[in-house]
Symmetry: C2
């Protein structure tokens, strides 16, 4: 935990004057000490590096904001209310301007989500030859769940509807545009870029779905892979209608191959994909309204195909033709 | 959280068949979901990189063991019982042999301390030119505290005794030996190296001290700096008797200048430094016996010196002469 002066810029923002439901009694100590209500909590951890998860040109404000957002998104997928987070950061050099921007973006979302920073650690990044590796960030976020509740990937049943929040593919399309591989329409690029730089974790929706969804995941690695996790953990298969998938408007302007790539395997959307029995449609729509978050029904859970190599996610076009999924999933070591 | 196959070696050890008091209901999900007793918890997070916190030649078993030990040591400083930890790890390449060794050492301590791995994330390290940065690890550990209790750095009062557990300086001396700067006696090097490679977190002692110690910190950055944190947070000063400081036997064979450097500013000891009123000496000795951990009284807390630049930590030799402290503290950016 915090031991050196290195962390002073971020330490200033530690919640001496705490906001939020969980307070730390150990600011500046080896541990944060928190009084907890009895009950269930959700915990997630994510590690991110500049150059791997962020473009080297990313604004520090956006890096700070998004580093927390992707963790809040994991809490959203469990239906948890964010309560506290812990930050470890490795920096290649002391760079107060960068750290100040990073902290600004981080604290903007921390305050907006009622999720205070209760502890952390800072260090210098490892060296490669004479050079220090770029900034590496690890965040652990914690949230509250009502007792006995919590969404997992394991509860989908044949007959359930498959739903997606918001729109998908925008973040990946913005990345392709920035890499010079694709060209998004000039007037639509900013909204796609905003999806990439400032993703919105769907915590209000996740919480509202606690009593209606049967399974849930956030879309970080692409709809195909993240829905695939639900299928695998629930031991089911899925029929998805491509024309129902809520593709981001900037992506709609591209070829169908590009749309498929962005929406199905692009990732970095931080929308929720979830399942629920058809009799819950009214509850789902209420949840969508109360959370101010659009949701779209894109298909149905079916029985798992018995063949061991069968593709459990089947994507159809409007004529019922099976579409070939773009290579799914993202493996950092591939 | 865990989303890719990358993590499969570690994921195997996730606690499907959980041991320990806290169980996760969300293995393989976006979050770990844990039912908690009402009460107080302690949380700490630490980030470590090969080449910065570990020698490039460190055995993966030792890296895994120590990465968890330093976090358990933070919990010990708060007096908390370890209950769960979360691991983020960035790897330069898929290296099953390394990861298998790392996991072996990590799980050895996890099982021994009753502190299960309940979640994690894996990714690839950032690149510098064509090369990937070395392994970077972030662990967040959580522990239980009785309600209303928990040790911090803030409670030391003038008149309190200053205590240290175990012996100090061994780890730093082993590092100097490995770097070829110092030469430790042949027969004493293994015990110093063991302190460096397999530090023992003092959780049993920390817990036993909950009702007697007034302030506590673990010695990660050297006695001078970590006791200094207590002095600063408690707004007091300290008189420490050098001849009472329990220097590791391998360090005793070195010159006094080397001994001072190893014991006062070396760090990486993971012993506890704590304070308590003299009337608690009996309780402290009972705690030491029940925790099977030796403790040594090394000095006394005094009133803070009023001069703004005064050295608040005063180290005396047996004749009462003030000793010059070696340059204290460790700043990764210095």
């Amino acid at each position: 935990m915090v031991q050196n002066g290195e962390f002073s810029i971020i330490e200033r923002y530690f919640t001496h004057d705490a906001f939020g439901a969980w307070r730390s009694k150990g600011v500046g100590d080896d541990c944060a000490i928190i009084d907890m209500p009895a009950g269930r909590i959700a915990v997630t951890t994510d590690m991110m590096a500049i150059g791997t998860h962020f473009l080297p040109s990313a604004r520090p404000e956006d890096v700070g904001y998004k580093a927390l957002a992707v963790n809040l998104s994991d809490l959203a997928a469990a239906g948890a209310v964010p309560r506290a987070f812990f930050l470890s950061i490795a920096l290649p050099a002391r760079d107060d301007a960068w750290l100040s921007g990073f902290t600004k973006g981080l604290m903007e979302l921390s305050l907006a989500s009622g999720c205070p920073l209760l502890g952390g650690d800072t260090t210098r990044t490892a060296t490669v030859g004479e050079a220090h590796a770029p900034v590496t960030i690890s965040i652990t976020a914690m949230g509250d769940l009502p007792s006995e509740m919590g969404l997992t990937r394991a509860g989908a049943r044949p007959g359930d509807d498959i739903w997606v929040s918001g729109s998908i593919g925008g973040s990946y399309a913005a990345l392709m545009h920035r890499w010079g591989k694709w060209t998004l329409p000039h007037e639509l690029f900013p909204s796609a870029a905003h999806r990439m730089d400032r993703p919105e974790a769907r915590n209000a929706l996740g919480t509202a779905l606690l009593s209606s969804a049967s399974a849930c995941a956030d879309i970080s690695d692409g709809l195909a892979q993240d829905l695939g996790h639900i299928l695998e953990r629930s031991q089911v298969a899925a029929d998805v209608q491509w024309e129902l998938v809520p593709v981001h408007p900037a992506v709609k302007a591209l070829s169908r191959a590009m749309q498929l790539e962005a929406a199905m395997s692009g990732g970095d959307d931080y929308e929720l994909v979830f399942t629920a029995p058809p009799e819950k449609r009214g509850l789902i729509e209420q949840a969508s309204i109360s959370a101010l978050t659009p949701v779209t029904r894109i298909g149905r859970i079916i029985e798992k195909a018995p063949e061991p190599d069968a593709e459990q996610l089947r994507l159809h076009d409007e004529r019922g033709e099976l579409l070939l999924l773009p290579s799914t999933g993202f493996d950092h070591f591939a």
